[in-house]
């Protein structure tokens, strides 16, 4: 083993103050960090979800979640971010990820994307009803479990090529990374001329009235990256330190733990949970 590797988290920007790392006061067990990755016919996948310094210091669980699965040669990738103000949103994020995977594994070739998101939203309503033993109550589900989501379904084309379809609710995001350059795949939620940040994040169980997936062709050398706002915000337009760190680090599929190590970057004001799910067509 190399003696030279420094396992201290990479730092970006101004050094962050040391802050405590407390056990999350939650049941069931929810790990601080999740690491995943594998290769399938036509794809290589790496994923990590890391609790941010804010939740570590306050003893709250990681509210980000991810899921990635294969289905008949396609790849299903989901990233979700439980809304902070909803106290059980970490469970909401998990529920959403699992429902989306299940839906797409049972769907017809022609996907009804609006129905997919409605079902993911409804899973929160039913889950909240089971928790409380009461009738389905969308308002209560929103107050308890609200979660953003970004979904990608990637179908292989010829070798080294694939086509991704993506939808989202909220501020979780997706990019195509090529030669260190980050191209956002969704329209920005904020405009430079906006005076203020949006007053809140839209999240399941709310679903936009119409849903049109973004279609993205991928070829060898492209990386499809999904991420929560804990990654999107420090990434910005990709031209800064975080963009370079991940632009270099994801040029090729890294060793599994390396992505989690990168994602645990410290510094600046960035203390949110962060999740990255990266896919390489092979």
């Amino acid at each position: 083993m190399s003696e030279s590797f420094d396992w201290a988290s990479p730092s970006v920007g101004e050094a962050a103050p040391a802050s405590p790392v407390l056990a999350p006061a939650t049941q069931p067990y929810r790990p601080d960090t999740v690491i995943d990755g594998w290769a399938a016919e036509g794809f290589e996948v790496r994923a990590a979800s890391v609790r941010g310094a804010g939740h570590r210091a306050s003893g709250e669980p990681r509210q980000d979640e991810l899921a990635v699965a294969t289905h008949e040669g396609s790849l299903i990738a989901v990233v979700a971010d439980g809304v902070s103000n909803a106290p059980l949103s970490h469970l909401g994020a998990t529920m959403v990820c699992r429902t989306v995977v299940d839906y797409l594994q049972h769907a017809e070739a022609e996907i009804d994307w609006h129905d997919l998101l409605r079902c993911a939203g409804w899973s929160l309503v039913e889950f909240a009803a089971r928790q409380s033993g009461g009738e389905p109550d969308p308002q209560r589900a929103e107050a308890q479990l609200a979660s953003t989501v970004v979904v990608a379904l990637i179908r292989p084309a010829e070798p080294g090529r694939a086509v991704a379809h993506l939808v989202r609710v909220g501020d979780s995001d997706a990019w195509r990374l090529r030669d260190g350059k980050w191209t956002p795949l969704f329209e920005s939620l904020t405009q430079p001329e906006d005076e203020l940040l949006p007053d809140g994040v839209s999240a399941l169980p709310r679903v936009p009235s119409s849903v049109t997936p973004v279609e993205v062709p991928l070829s060898t050398g492209d990386v499809l990256v999904l991420g929560t706002d804990g990654f999107a915000e420090p990434l910005g337009d990709g031209g800064g330190e975080v963009g370079r760190l991940f632009g270099d680090g994801l040029a090729d599929p890294p060793p599994l733990a390396r992505l989690a190590w990168m994602l645990d970057f410290t510094g600046g004001p960035y203390d949110d949970d962060r999740t990255v799910l990266a896919i390489w067509p092979t």
Binding site: G54, R118, P205, S209, G236, G238, V242, P269
Partner: protein, 225 residues
Amino acid sequence: MSESAGRVLPVYLVADESRSMSPVVDELNAGLRSLHDALLREPLAAAKVRFSIVGFSEDVIVHSALADLRNESSLPLLSVRTGTAYGVAFTLLLDRIPADVRALKREGFAVHRPAVFFLSDGQPTDVGQWESVYDQLVDRERTPTAPNIIACGIGEARAETILHVATRPEFAFVATPGVEVGLAIAEFCTALTRSVIKSGQAVGGNDAELVVERPDSFRMAVDVV
């Protein structure tokens, strides 16, 4: 831009400094000290807040402006003077908030909608004057940076006045008769601290609609998460 300087929430504590506040001004100052202590214990949260303290009576005094509380050794003390003219406080905010947001954006910050914590123990002495400037302050058409206002009334302040000042009914707090005023102030300061520290995400309305009916295709994927 490349990386933004991060997100900040401008918070304005607007406190009544009329003579009648004399018995409770020490407790209010103590509440501010504990807010400051709480933020120093959570530097990551403190980094996302810029704190201004404004005192009003018949005139208005800015005790601190857009302070990064991590860099302040102590908070300024509120004092007492004469009069309770709400209008001077809202006029100052109307002038100050858009300029503050511009200044923060020039520094590279993305700015959350400002939050005003308004505390008064009396009825306004400028009835008929404060309402129009207030209307302009909270009108998001005329004032794009219009703040959310959380209002707390103690002593002689009437519930209907505090409800008028708060930008949402749930943002209005009126000390229940019989509750010790010091306790009400402590609760107000606790609410202030909590919301300043938890300034992060909230569920926000947009055109998306709640799913209110079970989709036909729905199947419960998992029973337990």
